[in-house]
């Protein structure tokens, strides 16, 4: 049993499956997330596979400031993911709310709704920064070890 636990510990950093969620972004960061799976960046080199179901995902990649419309859905999707799970906030809006902060229909950054492990600022974020963020999110051993705001 110990061997299997060790193997799954080793494996947990080698095969991150990502789920992409648009919480209200302008689509700029989303295109950069999609860029990661194109031949130029090819995330599958690192074992990253884009999944459709939150049940299969290890890493939730969120873009955009959270609008009132997506708030409950974002929370639901986060709760549907199996442990251990990591959340990456991609883009300035996802980190702080960005230019939409204080808007009547926006609650702010992703961390106003769900705990975030890694912040990637930028408008829009570059694909290589997303790749290094995924790598970093998986190297975190325990909860609350990620970026401090």
């Amino acid at each position: 049993m110990d061997l299997i636990r060790k193997a799954s510990q080793w494996a947990s950093g080698k095969s991150p499956w990502i789920l992409h969620f648009n919480a209200g972004a302008c689509n700029g960061c989303d295109i950069e997330v999609v860029d990661c799976v194109t031949p130029r960046y090819d995330l599958e080199r690192f074992g990253v596979v884009k999944q459709g179901s939150p049940r299969h995902a290890d890493v939730l990649i969120c873009t955009g400031a959270v609008t009132l419309q997506t708030r409950d859905r974002l929370k639901q999707i986060y709760e549907q993911m199996p442990e251990p799970k990591r959340v990456i906030a991609v883009g300035t809006c996802a980190c702080t709310g960005g230019v939409f902060d204080g808007c009547y229909c926006v609650t702010g950054g992703i961390d106003t709704v769900i705990p975030v492990d890694v912040y990637v600022p930028g408008c829009a974020v570059r694909p290589d920064e997303i790749i290094s963020a995924v790598e970093r999110a998986l190297s975190l051993k325990t909860d609350g070890e990620g970026d401090k705001k």
Partner: protein, 313 residues
């Protein structure tokens, strides 16, 4: 001693251990080839193992509406069915671990099990996507199962035996007769692709429409074993097709094992090529393709083979 030898054959080579390792290797080769054909670099060799062990270590969520017993049992049933089918398929030369007259029927029966377990898994997940996926799985099964059975049974008419080992033995002695079965070989490749639910027949798992079909609610260990059983099913199917349609043997055990890998990898290459260059068919298009074109082709092959058999006798 004989018992030990049997256990070695069933559990290690060419049994369960060989099957699972080759299955992971085949998944890697498939993904790598797919990536190279798309001008990407593709995954490293250990990624399929990492996927499996990562899923083993993850939390297993079974939501309240789902049937916990079925959700947990189905992956194991599927894997057991596939692994049992592999015992009757020759890997080294023309002799399988077990064989008897009529074992091709058993193999085809065991290979239907994964499809039925997929259906049950999707149905008892009680999720909308999974239910649609399950109904697509079973609809597609009614389309490809008949031509697949017909084209795999056609060569046995000439060989005059219903055992996989017997068919391999016969055709390795008369390799030229295998040329008669070429149309059936083409039908077999297409229907095998359909049985594996890969593009262009990936409607049951269509990621862009129904997320991942029957597996949508699966997490952790059950998902790991379902993925493993799908990989094993691929290896069993390509081994079966290569045993029946590519009967080139040398008589030397080592060379035969190398030949086995060459033949199965060639078939795997064709399947990967098919999945890279085609787009998804709708379920009704799959049914039309199978019943309007593949079944008549397989039927014609059977008639031709019956005539050849009468002419040979």
């Amino acid at each position: 001693m004989e018992v030990l030898q049997m256990l070695f054959k069933v559990l290690l080579f060419p049994g369960f251990l060989f099957l699972t390792s080759y299955a992971f290797a085949a998944e890697y080769i498939d993904r790598k080839l797919h990536a190279r054909m798309q001008n990407r670099k593709g995954p490293k060799w250990y990624i399929p193992f990492a996927d499996f062990f990562k899923l083993i270590g993850k939390q297993t969520i079974i939501h309240d509406d789902a049937h916990a017993g079925i959700i947990k049992a189905m992956p194991v049933v599927s894997l057991a069915g596939v692994a049992t089918a592999f015992i009757y398929i020759p890997v080294v030369g023309s002799s399988a671990v077990f064989s008897f007259e009529g074992d091709i029927i058993i193999v085809l029966y065991f290979l239907s099990l994964p499809v039925l377990t997929q259906f049950l898994a999707g149905w008892y997940s009680r999720s909308l996507y999974a239910t649609i996926g399950a109904s697509r799985v079973i609809t597609q099964m009614f389309a490809y199962e008949v031509p697949l059975f017909m084209c795999l049974l056609a060569p046995s008419l000439i060989a005059n035996t219903w055992s996989v080992s017997g068919i391999t033995q016969y055709y390795s002695e008369h390799p030229l007769y295998a040329l008669i079965n070429l149309p059936a070989f083409a039908v077999a490749l297409i229907t095998v692709q359909s049985k594996l639910s890969k593009a262009p027949f990936d409607a049951p798992e269509a990621e862009t429409e129904i997320v991942s079909g029957p597996y949508v609610e699966y997490t952790g260990r059950p998902l790991a074993f379902f993925r493993m059983s799908a990989d094993c099913e691929e290896v069993v199917l390509i081994s079966l097709v290569s045993a029946i349609f590519l009967p080139f043997l040398s008589g030397n055990a080592v060379i035969d094992v190398i030949l086995y890998f060459v033949k199965t990898l060639a078939i795997l290459f064709v399947l990967t090529l098919m999945r890279t260059v085609t787009a998804r068919l709708r379920v009704n298009q799959t049914v039309t393709l199978c019943w309007r074109y593949l079944v008549p082709a397989a039927l014609l092959q059977m008639i031709v083979n019956l005539i050849v058999r009468g002419w040979l006798a």
